[in-house]
Amino acid sequence: MVENDRWSRMLAHAILILGVALVIFPVYVAIIASTHDGQTFLSGTLPLLPGTQAWQNYTTVIFEGRSRAGTPPIAQMLWNSFIMAMTIALGKIAISLLSAFAIVYFRFPFRMFFFWIIFMTLMLPVEVRIVPTFQVVADLGMLNSFAGLSIPLIASATATFLFRQFFMTIPEEMLEAARMDGAGPLKFFRDILLPLSITNIAALFVIMFIYGWNQYLWPLLITTDPGYYTIVMGIQRMVTGGDSEPLWHLVMATVVIAALPPILVILFMQRLFVKGLTETEK
């Protein structure tokens, strides 16, 4: 076992604290920056203590938006992001539950072939296929729509694989018992598999919601209509758009607000999330 003497413990803590500090510091800077007025940033040095403009900055960001940068008010972008993240998370879960169900419980030709195809796409991130995907979405006329924002990101090898692994831990007798009880495949799926997977679904929901929320490149490519801007890309627009210097205090306020929903999702679903990743119900 690890030696438990005083010095090694202190060293371990020092390293951990240093690591945490490295991660926390930028977040801290963002929060601090969002409480100062625009003038502060022009001097070139970042203050490390809270300013007095917090209330004003946040109300400006939330209610007025930055008309000059061509971005809609932040509420609109938050809503867009929320719709996109929810559609992606729920869509991914629905699709991968069904495909895992098919792969585990049905015998059809090329079953393992399809499984491996799905598995191999795990290695391809969105960015790799982004040009052809853009072409497809453009040809289908889905630019500047929620469908275009979410559908191409819904197919998920990761979730399919996770559900497959989970389904395989469910004893076969469960299926047989359900068959004896007169449950067809879909009934078995709805009445047995779905309730049993609930913690896994919650865990994946958290991961996928954050994945969808943090999408940056894809919304940047396919939306030109400010009505469909998401918050994450909206921040980019705020920085680069407009003729004047970026209004860093407002950008930072937006950043802090944009970071809130994922944090809230995690906070609310933490218990289920941890359970879903660690526990297998038998």
Partner: protein, 351 residues
Amino acid sequence: MSSIRIHNLSKVYADGTHAVKGIDLTIRDGEFIVLVGPSGCGKSTLLRMIAGLETITTGDLYIGEQRVNQLEPAQRDIAMVFQNYALYPHMTVYQNMAYGLKNRGWQKSAIEERVRKTAQMLEIEHHLTRKPKALSGGQRQRVAMGRALVREPAAFLLDEPLSNLDAKLRVQMRVEIKQLQRRLQTTSLYVTHDQLEAMTLGDRLVVLNQGQIEQVGAPLEVYQRPETLFVASFIGSPNMNLIPVQAINHPLNQAALATLPQQTDILGVRPDKLLLQPPTTPHIQFECSMTLFEPAGAESHLYMRLCSDEHNLVMRVESMSELFQQPSFTVYAEIQHLHPFNQSSGKRTDS
């Protein structure tokens, strides 16, 4: 309730394994049949074919008057109890029991009435709102039984239902299952590898070996008159002693051995039929030496070895005797308690 007729039933798996080889069996209405055999003998496969969980390669299966080869499990009007119970972990006991009825489109009130009645019979009515996780092994076993009973099926299939319980509970549940079956008079098929369970539960035993039926008969009949060497060695605990005739072929036994049927080259004798005193009836005798004495309370087991050819035997005795301290002692067996077999055919020779 109905009879089950199995005609020339076979199962060949995709990999070529011939698990069940042409089985013929008729199970009468209300009968309790126990399928018994060592692991891999095809007993579970046979049960699962009857349940509809395995397809039938060849042969016919009738439940009642209907040929059910092609029917889905749920359409066969049978219920099954699984070895690991296979209770739905996310449902309460009530929901577990009601699920099959619900899927059959029963009215809520009718389901409620039937579940309560069944739960009462199994003494689990206090657990109806609990989940399987919160129950003990024995209680889960009851719920599994309840889930099968609640439908009042034509036949009951039980796949080693007691093997997950501890020894004490197993005996208790065994008795209860027997009583329950007596009361309900439901045709039942019970699979086990435990020959004690088989002996105590069944109206008739079906001894299976390598996908084939070795013997069918009432438990005592099978015990008292095993038709094959396999049955002789499988049924009974401790195992029947199987002694090669040539090992005891000495002058004192000549007269007795001459009365045996032709072709007999193996003699079976139960451990409790070996004697330490010479009986008055015709008998055989042989010299043995002790290898191990195993006290087990009411009776004890004496492991010994034939002096003539090192063949191991076991004998049921009341207690440790002075006799066993000697380098060798004489053991007797009455002719009427010998089971004559032929080694190469594996069959009884006096039939």
